[in-house]
């Protein structure tokens, strides 16, 4: 995978797609993220991101709200548009 395009999920703009590379969180948060569909390799698309406050992403067909702090810990690779 091309890690040079690795960005934090918070940097993804609305309607853009990305592939999850990793998350830098503890086991408890990781368990919650995977049970909602976030796994390395899964595709996410940004549904709402106003640059501040929580954001909404779509992963595996589900809309999930993430606090900006949580989203910042998710590393993704922007998909070529």
């Amino acid at each position: 995978m091309d890690h040079t395009r690795a960005i934090s999920l918070t940097e993804l703009s609305v309607d853009n797609h990305a592939t999850i590379l990793a998350f830098n969180v503890g086991t408890v948060e990781a368990t919650r993220l995977v049970s909602l569909g976030f796994t390395p390799g899964a595709e996410v698309s940004m549904s709402q991101n106003y640059g501040r406050g929580p954001l909404i992403v779509t992963v595996r067909g589900t809309r999930v709200a993430l606090g900006r702090g949580e989203a910042a810990k998710i590393v993704v690779a922007r998909s070529a548009e």
Partner: protein, 680 residues
Amino acid sequence: MSNCHSTSAPSQPVSLRVRERIPLLALAGQPNVGKSTLFNFLTGLNQHVGNWPGKTVERREGSFSINGCEYGIVDLPGTYSLTANSPEEVITREFILRERPDLVIAIVNAANLERSLYLVAELISLDTPLAVILNMMDVARQEGFRIEPEVLEAALGVPVIPMTATHATGMQAFYQAVQEILDGGRIFTPRLPEIRADHRATLDEILNHIHGYVPSPYPENWVALKLLEGDTEITHLLQNNLPPEKWEAVYDLLRQHDDALLAIASGRYEWIGRLVRAAVVHPRIGQISLTKQLDRWAVHPFWGLVILAGILGLVFWLTFTIGSPVQGWLDAQIVGGLAGLANQLLAEAPFWIRSLIVDGVIGGVGAVMTFLPIMIIFFAVFGLLEDMGYMARAAFVMDNFMHIMGLHGKSFLPLFLGFGCNVPAILGTRVIDSKPARFLTILIAPLVPCTARIAVVAFLAPVFFGSNAIFVSWGLVLASMFTLVLSGALLNRVIFKGQRSAFIMEMPLYHVPDSRTIGLLIWQRSMSFLKKAGTTILGMALVIWALSMLPNGDLNESYLVQFGKWIEPVGRWMGFDWRLTVALITSFPAKENAVATLGVLFGSSPEAALAQTLTSTFSTASALAFLVVTMLFIPCMATVAVIRQETNSWGWTLLNILLLLVISIAAGAGVYHLALFIGL
């Protein structure tokens, strides 16, 4: 009836319990898959709501019959996975492993198969019979999915039943399937998700180490997997059960493979991916769903707040235009009527018995009962918003604001409920995952002005402030909210040291609310409220009555008034005389008692007369201080009871009472002196 379940036993796994009872089904599923709708449809009013032992998670069980055969059914808490994150997951897996239900029914959302099959991937690895209900087939069709249940069934190796629970379609097939499965007429060959090869070896190694040391009823395979996933409960269990050298070996393995959780989860999603590819024809791309359209407004940083404020305004409007008149009518007709009747019937009885019944029982409990119409409005509106999927949006738009207190959006939901009544607010804190966040929310929840306090303000504000009453009322609500945020922010710094939990929350699809689910919710909440009114509140009302009667039946010489006079110096700080102080104390059993007590102390029952007496007795500064203190005073008795229940600690409960006592007295004194200073 006699041959109902005669053939069910042989098909069941071995159980130590004697099976002479009715077959037991367990409903499992992720949140927002329509689990409650199905449970309510099956059981109707044949259900019982309680708590799981030692936990503050609601336990709902009931029964239903098919062709005259009875079945027991337990609604397991909604969980996304079976890894111990919160009490819900632990309850679900412990129930399945220990109680061994005859059939576990996993409900999945057909419109969101990929995510909702994740729990099935976990359930299928526990060796209890499993059936999958493919719910929300209508939504799936609307979204353009075509699902072939037979293909999914063949790929999973367990029965799959398509259904639309909200329209009760697919019920016949469900009943038939349940009977066939329990009679052994359907064979299971579940196909389990596989774990990636590199972790397979690790799993085998762990299995070798733990073999023979895993306490029942946990399957060894499952325990090994949960260890690799980093499950805290299972890790503790094994740490306590393994000999030290074995535990060290296992611990080393786990440390080397701390990424195993992601590999296992990915494996499950790959397994799901294969099922979904086989059974689902994918939707046309590019169509904008209803949810996406509605969310453009509902979660917009500005319009989202406007909509939320609008909803709150609507709730208050409903409360005052429908709730309050009905309440007044109930108070006059039912409570007043009962009191009159009791007075007649007990005309011959000693004075104290008549007073006990009329003032103590009917007066105390009756006053609380009249709050039911307002509670019903709140239960209905919140039940509706919850069932439609709006509540997650309210949490989302309030997330930023809640950060001031070190909380996040989810804590807003119980506080929102608090506007109706603080009792459901405290109970509602169960949605918050982290304990510090939950306790902080409980501590500040009583600062949300409930309808009872607003009712007191609605009565007193026009008396003292005439046409300015509406501004005073809004000012009081805003001041309460400001106090709440300030206290929350301070408490977070001081007690909780700025801890913050993660905000990760599903935004469910909007859907048409189910009237049966909301109806049952209103019914159960109302019943539980009435039960509380009949027990705790009755007891407390009697204590207050006794204090106002003893020692000689004259209120003005009673212990209550003596006490009021004794602590009058404190009241003086806020510009109160002993009567306002006593009124405040009697607001403990129920906030609206404050007005009733003033009526008794001034010996004037008609409300108009009371209003006149009050304005001539108290200065505007005293009145304003009294309203402020009423808004912020210690939580009512019922709220204290649930705080004790939910925190499971008298220490926290007393801290909470003390906190509000200090806040209210400080605010009251401050407002009084400020008002005097500016010449009110």
